[in-house]
């Protein structure tokens, strides 16, 4: 079965041209012109990656993002107007895994999608189970348990946790995490790491305001401690 990509964009010309470019990558593209269309299409048949323009008439991109995220851990790329607004953080907090700003080159988009797909499909066979206090990570099964209860993480959150867990006690800088989890270089947006760490903490920390596992090392990065 080929990779299915759902693109949510109200501008028909952009939608069509992006579909053509993505189809050239060998992917199947489903188009949605509005938030409602997108939710219907996603309910009908789940996609492997969702691309959402934040500026949508009706249900806006943030709401579409939240709704899809509630139902699925599918990788989501959002398209924002600008990189320096709160839109980026708001979109990431709504559940997006990565973002692009308009106008972007389709090559960039396919690179982002490939990185997300790689992450979504990595099963890492043979990776050993890891235990940090009450936290149990089983990379092979993609499962995290906190005091025996399974915690539901998105693929990106899981990758981030595994990356920290395989270097226990070592500080990983934002740049390193950006590269290993998102495939970005040095100039990637550190907010991707910070917002995902924040979301990860709300799921695995007993008290997210005073983290016990994922610790911030000021000016350097993050580390996982047992």
């Amino acid at each position: 079965m080929g990779t299915r990509i759902l693109t949510v964009e109200d501008d028909e010309r952009i939608r069509t041209s992006v579909r053509l470019a993505l189809e050239d990558e060998g992917w199947t593209v489903e188009e949605a012109a509005s938030g409602e269309d997108a939710l219907n299409a996603f309910t009908r048949e789940a996609a492997d990656v969702v691309l959402i323009d934040i500026m949508l008439p009706g249900i806006d991109g943030f709401d579409v993002c939240r709704s899809i995220r509630q139902a699925s851990d599918v990788p989501i790329v959002m398209v924002t107007a600008r990189a320096d607004t709160h839109d980026v953080v708001a979109g990431l907090e709504a559940g997006a895994d990565d973002y692009l700003t308009k106008p972007f080159a389709p090559k960039e988009l396919s690179a982002r999608i490939r990185a997300l797909l790689r992450r979504a499909r990595s099963t890492e066979p043979g990776a050993p189970q890891m235990v940090f206090g009450d936290l149990e990570i089983i990379p092979e099964e993609g499962v995290v348990r906190l005091t025996g209860t399974e915690v539901h993480l998105t693929k990106t959150e899981f990758r981030l946790l595994v990356e920290l867990a395989t270097n226990p006690g070592r500080v990983l800088s934002r740049e390193v995490l950006l590269e290993r989890v998102w495939g970005y270089g040095y100039f990637g947006d550190g907010r991707l790491v910070d917002v995902h760490i924040r979301r990860l903490r709300t799921k695995i920390e007993p008290d997210p305001a005073n983290p016990r596992y994922v610790i911030t090392i000021r000016g350097l990065g993050y580390k996982l401690q047992s």
């Binding site: 053509l20 470019a21 106008p103 040095y186 100039f187 947006d189 000021r218």
Partner: protein, 469 residues
């Protein structure tokens, strides 16, 4: 001429001048009238006294004179007169005269007075003998064909008048100075609102478009304030409208650019199946779509400064590593010089600083020549990033304008436009300004040929990790 000079003076100087002139005229008038009145009173009083003394003395002389008295015998007569200090009697008998003091002799008697006395009338006159002021009283003694003259010196009165004159002059001068000071103070007070208007106008000119004047307590100034604020408001509206327009146009351009970029890419995916002519056309299209995209991105970036939505997203950056990475991602060959520096942590906006370095290196590659060098260092509380090349440098006259938008250099070549968007250095200046730093261009420090673009940004407070997310 005077009018032109007067017009060239400032309002304050003119008001001060007018006050001083007024003070001068007033004190002159007072001085003149005081002196005139004092002179009249003192001298008339002295004349009256001199006259009555002279009349009394003349009476005694008349009593003592016989018909046959010779001039040689009158000495005793004169000696017995009541002579106050500064009074000089002179007796004329027939044609002969006898004086007691050389300070007043027959020659000193004015001929007009002598004529009057000889005609049988008493009279008095003010004269000056050897520079000494005298009141000369002449009284005829007709019975013996004699005449009695008495001179009274008035130099004490003159002294008093002179002293008085000096005092009055001094007071007048003081009054004039006081008026000038008063004028200066009054004009400064009157012009204080104008000073506020000046400050507000300067603040407007510096780009503080929301500058307004406070409503004044003085009703006379209310209309000035109202019209100034009205002007500032419409200026602000106008500039904001222009800035919003540029920003909205750039935003609107993003959608067609998306379509263009994606379509061009689809075409490029099938480039091999095209004829050579179509390939050439596609390459032209691709090149210009790329350039157009870069231009719109720069326009969007710079319009954020114009509409005031640009905000610094500071995070801790190790400048040494940052510059290494920037150079690593640069399409040009660049040499790094960090000296002995291992790390240099600053609070900066990574995306914007990356654009600063990229644009400066790009600028050096396009308009400089030879080796491009990026230098990192620090000075006190500031971090320095300098980009040097070995080209012709930037002529001094262009060093300021080179950071303006779409500036077109002359000699140094086409610095500022050409294949770039023409906004590269303007964006550098805006980004650096947002960091509270400055950027300038001069000659290379080692004296060899080439331009050196220096960026200085404050190291700043390194924010907590969580704060900038």
């Amino acid at each position: 001429m005077i009018r032109r000079l007067w017009g060239r003076l400032g309002l304050r100087a003119r008001i001060t001048g007018l006050y001083a002139l007024g003070g001068l005229l007033l004190s002159l008038a007072i001085a003149l009238s005081t002196l005139t009145l004092a002179r009249q009173n003192l001298i008339e009083d002295r004349e009256e006294r001199a006259f009555s003394v002279a009349v009394r003395n003349a009476q005694r002389v008349e009593n003592g004179l016989g018909a046959e008295t010779e001039i040689e015998d009158v000495g005793v007569l004169l000696d017995n007169l009541t002579i106050t200090e500064g009074s000089f009697p002179l007796l004329q008998v027939g044609d002969a005269t006898r004086a007691l003091d050389q300070a007043f002799d027959a020659d000193a008697v004015p001929s007009s007075l002598r004529g009057l006395v000889e005609a049988g009338d008493a009279g008095r006159m003010r004269v000056r003998v050897n520079g000494r002021p005298l009141i000369v009283t002449g009284i005829p003694i007709p019975d013996t064909a004699a005449a009695y003259y008495e001179a009274a010196a008035t130099d004490d009165v003159e002294d008093v008048l002179n002293t008085l004159g000096i005092i009055v002059l001094g007071v007048g001068a003081a009054a004039t100075l006081l008026s000038a000071a008063l004028g200066s103070w009054a004009s400064r007070r009157a012009l204080t609102p104008l000073g506020e208007v000046r400050l507000a106008a300067e603040s407007l000119a510096a780009g503080e478009l929301d500058t307004r004047l406070d409503p004044p307590a003085d009703a006379d100034l209310a209309s000035l304030t109202a019209s100034f604020n009205g002007m500032a408001r419409s200026l602000e509206d106008r500039i904001e409208r222009d800035a919003r327009f540029a920003s909205e146009v750039s935003h609107e351009l993003r959608s067609p650019l998306m379509t263009l970029n994606a379509s061009v890419e689809v075409l490029n995916n099938n480039r091999d199946s095209m004829s050579e002519r179509n390939q050439t056309a596609l390459d032209l299209l691709t090149g210009d779509v790329t350039r157009f995209t870069a231009l719109v991105e720069d326009l969007l970036e710079i319009s954020r400064y114009d509409v005031g939505t640009a905000s610094l997203r500071a995070e801790p950056i190790d400048l040494v590593e940052f510059v290494r990475q920037s150079v690593h991602h640069s399409p040009y060959k660049v040499v790094i010089n960090v000296g002995a520096l291992q790390h240099l942590l600053v609070a900066g906006d990574k995306r914007r600083l990356a654009q600063v370095v990229a644009n400066l290196v790009d600028n050096a590659a396009k308009y400089g020549a030879g080796e491009i060098r990026v230098v990192v260092g620090h000075e006190d509380e500031s971090a320095i990033i300098a980009v040097e090349d070995e080209g012709p440098g930037v002529p001094e006259a262009e060093r300021g304008v080179i950071f303006e938008r779409f500036s077109r250099g002359s000699a140094g070549g086409r610095r500022g436009h050409g294949t770039g968007s023409g906004l590269g250095l303007a964006l550098v200046a805006e980004h650096v300004g947002l960091h509270g730093g400055e950027v300038w261009v001069d000659d290379r420090l080692d004296g060899s040929e080439g331009a050196r673009f220096t960026v200085r940004i404050p190291i700043g407070d390194i924010p907590d990790d969580e704060e900038w997310a």
